[in-house]
Amino acid sequence: MTSIPAGRFIRFTLLSLGALMILAPYIFMISTAGKTQSDIFTSSLSLMPEHFYFAENFAKALNKVPMATLLWNGVVVCGLIFFFQVLVAIPCAYAMAKLKFRAARLMMVLVMLGLLVPIHATALPLYVAFDRMSLLNSYTSLVAPFTISVFAIFMFLQFFRAMPDDLIHAARLDGMSELGIVARVIVPNAWPAVTAFAIFSVVAHWNDLYWPLIVVSKQAYATPPLGLMYFRAAEAGDDYGALMAATLIITLPLVVAFLFAQKRFVEGITMTGLKG
């Protein structure tokens, strides 16, 4: 039997420890989802549930809140946000990366400033505005504040700058308008950047609790994390088993999506995109 080189062994151990540390809460969540209420509140800490209570907890999670509605809302809100973000950011980033105009510098400064302002700073005025327009408890109020993502603009900007100028020159000589260039040349070649951005956007908005908590009070428009709040409001105290089961359900789509598209995501993040 060949022995593993010491360096590799140390590296492997360190990585495993790191991975374990990061995965620990998730593992604990899975284990809790399978425990009875009494198991959870015992003083001893054990990973394996004494009685397997998964089915009961999941049943409770699905019954107590309208899980289908929550997931559907999550999909609709994340989908709409992502769609509009890309729709706005791609032409904007293209203009800033490849067109020469006088306000280019000013725009760059504004984008950088935009990156610095968190949603919490603008939450109150936005809330008041939506209230005045009677748009609280609607998809509009959940989606609208995020349709212009400076982060997306910034990310696409970096990506488009790396695109060869000649490609755009060739497109212009071939008779394309600027919008034509965006639609026919930029977008088809921007998939790596779009996928990379998709992870950031979907993960952020699927998991977002802050904003839905502010603008949504009706269950019909609740997103998955907001739905979890209804467990806490339960009359008979907190039911952690069911809560963890519900958490497992709502994190599952992201985990599955990531596992399926893992290769593309990594590609997207490393941005090995365009080659001749």
Binding site: P164, D166, L167, H169, A170, A171, R172, L173, D174, G175, M176, S177, G180, R184, V185, P188, N189, L274, K275, G276
Partner: protein, 385 residues
């Protein structure tokens, strides 16, 4: 009326003059090579011509029509880029079809779903794919039409780029160093092909290159640009044999022309026994004497001619390049010899250097060519071996 004429184009970037009043007239069916060291403004000129950039001042006429206010797309100018600039997400066939689709299909007919049900677009699309196939056959790339640029070699991509530019029958053809990304063998081969294609299509062509061999071998006329100035525009033979400026003489020719400092005195230029009578009035003072290496002869005896010493010999097969240092002035003179002339030469030996006075060119202090009376009296007879 010229097919294309540029009048006094000026362009500067941040106070740096990149183009200095450049004027060129391209006649119908002509092939002009624009040559110059990198950064001399030749690519900028091409971009301005194509409408991708704007000149600070100057005019562009294509077929007598002023193009200054016409957008790039409407100038009917095609360009082949150094990087080929093929659309990476489209196959070769789709790449070649793009300019035709943009020209022949209306805006609504080009829409992805709606377009396909509109009347008339099917016929146009069939016409386009027929023309694409035809063009591909001419360039012998018809077997590559379904491949993406990433799956093709450099030479193949270059042909696809040529096909995309030629398929729409442009009124002017611009090429920006289209061969510089090919390996040496392929480059020589592609040179011949481009000349052949140009002859067949007869589209006036402006070909930018930094490779003088490409320029001299391909073009009807060569334009030499250095530092944003168009120094000379003439036939390749004239550029080589009769350069108008010292920088042209220096840039064209391999090995480089010998430039020797000399003195102008009372309408005569003299250097170590060479006397040339100037045809124009020039103030007394330093001038430069240029003589091509093939007109420098060496005599191994060292007793006749200018005294010198061979510093280095380069054997290149069909010729031998000898670097000699003149004893009198310390200048290096390069001689290009036939192998049999160099048979008795070894590095380090003293030699007699003969400069043919009738082949010498005189350049003024600012670099302008000064005309001399032909066959000025020479004290020494050039001794040909």
């Amino acid at each position: 009326m010229s097919a294309l004429s540029l009048r006094g184009l000026n362009k500067s970037f941040g106070g740096n003059a990149v183009l200095n009043g450049v004027s060129i007239d391209v006649e119908a069916g002509e092939f002009i090579a624009l040559v110059g060291p990198s950064g001399c403004g030749k690519s900028t000129l091409l971009r301005i011509l194509a409408g991708l950039d704007h000149a600070d001042s100057g005019e562009i006429f294509v077929g007598g029509k002023d193009m200054s206010a016409v957008a790039a797309a409407d100038r009917n100018i095609a360009m082949v880029f150094q990087s080929y600039a093929l659309y990476p997400h489209l196959t070769a066939g789709q790449n070649i079809a793009v300019p035709l689709a943009m020209k022949r299909l209306s805006r609504t007919q080009r829409l992805p779903l709606v377009g396909s049900v509109l009347p008339g677009q099917k016929e146009i699309r069939t016409g386009i794919s027929r023309d694409v196939r035809e063009m591909a056959t001419v360039l012998k790339i018809d077997h590559l039409l379904d491949r993406k640029p990433g799956q093709m070699s450099g030479g193949q991509r270059q042909r696809v780029a040529l096909a995309r530019a030629m398929v729409r029958h442009p009124s002017i053809f611009l090429m920006d160093e289209p061969l510089s990304n090919l390996d040496a063998n392929l480059r020589v081969h592609a040179r011949g092909e481009i000349v052949e294609l140009h002859r067949r299509a007869g589209v006036p062509t402006l070909y930018v290159t930094h490779d003088q061999a490409e320029a001299l071998s391909m073009a009807d006329r060569v334009a030499v640009m250095i530092g944003g100035n168009l120094l000379q525009l003439a036939a390749p033979e004239t550029i080589y044999n009769d350069p108008a400026h010292i920088q042209v003489a220096r840039f064209v020719g391999q090995p480089r022309i010998n430039i020797i400092p000399a003195l102008a005195e009372n309408g005569r230029v003299s250097f170590e026994g060479i006397r040339l009578a100037l045809l124009e009035k020039v103030a007394n003072g330093p001038v430069s004497l240029g003589i091509r290496p093939e007109f420098v002869k060496l005599s191994p005896s060292g007793r006749s001619g200018l005294g010198g010493r061979i510093e280095r010999l380069e054997f290149l097969g069909s010729e031998v390049i000898a670097h000699c240092r003149l004893d009198a002035t310390g200048d290096i003179v390069i001689a290009k010899l036939a192998p049999h002339e160099a048979r008795n030469l070894i590095a380090g030996m003293p030699v007699g250097v003969f400069l043919s006075p009738e082949e010498a060119m005189v350049f003024g202090p600012e670099g302008r060519r000064l005309r001399t009376a032909s066959a000025a009296p020479a004290r020494q007879e050039p001794a040909y071996v």
